[in-house]
């Protein structure tokens, strides 16, 4: 059952808040921070939000079916330690296989056994984080050069991070708007029972969403590890909740059936601009959480639902 009221643009969830917030942030920073438009700063913002953008698009898929995946941060951490612990040709396939395993575990628990998504992904988050710490207890290690180049390099004078973002957005858009899969997700998220009665298979797409979300964590982990050129078992910790924050700021309803790729991307950009703006304006980074929390409260207050609940 969807508890959502449609926004300005129907099931996309885009509304005044999700569209207006990044614009307001952009205008404020354009006037308030001198170096905001410098090439270096724009590149920095792009580099900083790429991993979150990838994960948020994965989280979007899960949110559309009324789920939530907080284990995605642990998938990033596990990927990071795998990449510095195994040989370059083995590491990426192993990380992808583990991502599929995490997603399947979450998907089977939620879609087949009916475990609440928050509980199932909390359990896998704890397990996978422990596994990452077991493989490597601290930051360090050597990252394969090819991955560093893929994350830090430039193609046609543009930073590689931009291509990672474009690829992730294009893939998510294809899934949601170019294939029947996307239509099924909106149907399941709006009303799973009704979708099932209309011949839509519910369990398969749900399971696929969790697998894709975990894989988005793996891809973000590959990018992040390449970018900082070191492995870190706690690298992904903030991403589980940050990705939920980003999709919520982008107008995606956690009750399912309402959301868009554009919304998730705008939510990510808003979070990125908050961090960047605070750096440029010399505000204590400790206040980032405060500002994010307040923005989140404002955003959800303006996105009223019909029912009380999770």
């Amino acid at each position: 059952m969807s508890a959502a009221r449609p926004g300005l643009f129907g099931r996309s969830g885009l509304g005044v808040v999700s569209l207006g917030l990044p614009v307001v942030m952009f205008v404020l920073l354009a006037f308030g921070a001198q170096d905001f438009f410098s090439v270096e700063n724009v590149t920095n913002v792009n580099n900083q939000i790429t991993a979150l953008a990838i994960v948020s698009l994965g989280q979007l898929l899960v949110a559309l079916i009324g789920g939530m995946d907080i284990s995605v941060g642990s998938a990033i951490s596990l990927t990071s330690v795998i990449l510095v612990s195994l040989g370059s040709w083995v590491a990426v396939p192993v990380a992808l296989a583990l991502g599929v395993a995490i997603g399947l575990t979450n998907g089977v628990g939620v879609a087949l056994f009916g475990v609440h998504p928050l509980i199932m992904t909390l359990a896998s988050m704890t397990f996978v984080q422990g596994l990452a710490l077991l493989i490597r207890s601290g930051a360090g290690g050597t990252v394969p050069t090819v991955l560093v180049d893929l994350a830090q390099g430039h193609v046609f004078w543009l930073p590689a991070a931009l291509y990672w973002c474009i690829a992730a957005i294009a893939f998510a858009s294809l899934l949601l708007y170019g294939l029947r899969f996307g239509l099924r997700l909106f149907a399941i998220g709006s009303n799973a029972q009704s979708a099932a009665l209309n011949g839509v298979r519910v369990a398969g797409p749900r399971l696929t969403c969790y697998v894709l979300c975990s894989l988005s964590g793996v891809v973000a982990g590959v990018y992040l590890t390449g970018r900082i050129a070191a492995g870190d078992p706690s690298m992904g910790q903030p991403f589980g909740l940050d990705s939920v924050t980003a999709v919520a700021l982008g107008g995606v309803q956690l009750s399912g059936g309402v959301g868009s790729v554009l919304g998730a991307t705008l939510g990510t950009i808003t979070l990125g601009l908050i961090t960047n703006g605070m750096n440029l304006l010399g505000v204590s980074p400790f206040f980032r959480g405060v500002l994010t929390g307040l923005l989140l409260l404002c955003a959800i207050s303006l996105q009223r639902r019909k029912a009380i609940g999770i």
Partner: protein, 328 residues
């Protein structure tokens, strides 16, 4: 009364089946605790010494208190993830010396602070129909950010003497913290079982729409539950602070997720309260006993985390398989 005999097996069988069915309907936490105690009896009998069991009970007390609030929210199809932020703020208020007031005044301020946090959460959740996950998560972010900004990551000072007394001293063999836990658990259990409020909670959990249509004060009940939940989080933070003896910015960081795990293991799920008030409390003890058992096996933090995750997942799946599907 008819005694079951070999000639009339039909009388005994349904009764036995009923007993087995009732046993199987008990929360996972009961079986889990028994299994862990048996495992400890075989492999680490030292852990079953009364002294150590009481020590584990004392460790469980803060989680047990937090579980009372979390289970109340979960029964109402809501959730409270702001415990970490609340505990952090309470730790700062009580130990930083920022407010030069007497201990009772500081405790009162913390309790009022809990009411304010709960009321704010409840306002967004019950009045504005916002997602409880997002609201309480945002609250945790705000509180954590404010405390970190104020403290600049400097460790606060010692816990007040009264809290240290509550957290560390025993009356006879019983730690005071355990008595505080029981003093909250018993009235809360009795209240939920006998009061109109308890019936309202049950009705809303079973079907919010039906409850609303029946004229049950839905908004007021959810509001009160969230205020109580934050108050329990404050008391839980007091107990941790007293037990540890010094303030810390990481106090209660895992309180929200552990309490959620205990609630599910204890048979309370979103909208369902099969485990009552006791099931989640037993689950809290089970989790703490499990951590201690794993420590005694020499398992480090990573191994403990893996075991914790596996236990939560298996328990949640087992609960779902037994017919208590949690997804709503």
């Amino acid at each position: 009364m008819t005694q079951p005999t070999a000639d009339f097996p039909m009388v005994a069988t349904p009764r036995r089946e009923a007993i087995v069915a009732r046993l199987l309907a008990l929360p996972i936490s009961y079986f889990g605790t028994l299994a862990l105690l048996a495992c400890a009896g075989l492999l680490r009998p030292n852990l079953l010494q009364p002294f150590l069991l009481l020590l584990i009970l004392r460790q469980t007390a803060p989680l047990g208190v937090a579980v009372l609030g979390q289970s109340l929210c979960v029964r109402l199809l809501s959730i409270d993830l702001s415990y970490g932020g609340v505990a952090m703020a309470v730790s700062y208020i009580m130990t930083s010396g920022y407010l030069p007031l007497s201990e009772p005044a500081l405790i009162l301020i913390c309790l009022l602070f809990g009411v304010a946090v709960g009321a704010t959460n409840a306002f967004f959740i019950a009045r504005l129909n916002a997602s409880s996950v997002i609201v309480t998560l945002a609250m945790a972010l705000i509180l954590g950010g404010v405390v970190t900004a104020f403290s600049q990551l400097r460790a606060p000072g010692d816990a007040p003497a009264f809290l240290r007394y509550v957290g560390q001293v025993r009356i006879g063999i019983l730690p005071i913290a355990v008595l505080v836990w029981c003093a909250l658990l018993v009235p809360v259990a009795a209240f939920l079982r006998t009061s109109t409020f308890g019936r309202y909670v049950e009705a809303i959990g079973a079907s919010p729409r039906a409850a609303l249509a029946s004229g049950i004060p839905y908004v007021r009940v959810v509001f009160l539950a969230h205020v109580l939940s934050s108050l329990f989080a404050v008391v839980s933070a007091f107990l941790i602070l007293g037990f540890v003896g010094v303030g810390s910015l990481s106090i209660g960081a895992d309180l929200a997720l552990n309490s959620l795990a205990a609630v599910i293991l204890g048979g309370v799920s979103f909208g369902s309260d099969r485990g009552g008030a006791l099931g989640p409390s037993v689950a809290g003890f089970m989790l703490m006993f499990c951590f201690n058992l794993l420590t005694s096996f020499g398992l480090g933090e990573p191994g403990k985390q893996m075991a914790q995750g596996a236990i939560i997942a298996l328990a949640a799946v087992a609960y779902a398989v037994r017919g208590g599907k949690q997804e709503k």
